[in-house]
């Protein structure tokens, strides 16, 4: 089972996690990305995420399929915000459910690392006096 989505609206973490295979499985692991409040000392007012939507959706689908076929996980969720995201809000939520946590950790790690490498989404930091595309990855 998988749920893959780009959305403009805030991420409803509780509902999504509750829907992630909690009944069948022993462990749900999640990664939540949140914009930082400052960038090298410069206060960030908000972020703006631009996506190549059709391709981003396809790439996230591929990542989920690869995770589901590489580890015995039963559920995989990837939700990424687009548009304006304020500090304190979530920019991305990834969740996997697995009977055993080893597999859950490995799959979650693969998913977030690969999302940050291949999914065509770009982040712009907006400051009081300008804005800048973020290029160097954590």
């Amino acid at each position: 089972m998988k749920t893959i989505r780009l959305q403009n609206d805030p991420i409803d973490c509780a509902a999504l996690i509750a829907a992630t295979g909690t009944v069948e499985d022993g462990a749900v692991l999640t990664f939540i990305g949140t914009p930082r409040r400052d960038s090298a000392g410069r206060p960030v007012e908000h972020l703006f995420y631009e996506a190549y939507e059709e391709m981003a959706q396809k790439e996230m689908d591929k990542i989920a399929d690869e995770a589901l076929s590489s580890w015995p996980i039963t559920d995989c969720l990837i939700i990424h915000r687009t548009g304006r995201v304020d500090p304190g809000q979530m920019s991305i939520l990834i969740a996997v459910s697995a009977h055993h946590r080893d597999e859950g950790f490995a799959a979650l790690r693969f998913i977030i690392d690969t999302v940050k490498k291949t999914v065509p989404i770009w982040k712009k930091e907006v400051y009081a006096d300008g804005s800048e595309w973020v290029s160097d990855r954590v």
Partner: protein, 81 residues
Amino acid sequence: MKITIKAFASVKDLCGFSEREFELPEHATADDAVRRVERECAGGSAGIESLLLAVNEEYCRGDRVLAENDILALFPPVSGG
């Protein structure tokens, strides 16, 4: 032949368009298209250096030969998450 070029993020800012049609010679490659965009829109090659390419929503290399109606996307390294 006619192809559509899409540009994203900093590449879009540099090129001044998010989507535009271009007329290219048969058998033109993705690299040929990039050189055309650099010349016509970006005032030279500086700035589109670590460019990523996709044709019809799939990553490709610069030597990819384009076909009529292809959609070529130009964008910087991704920074989602």
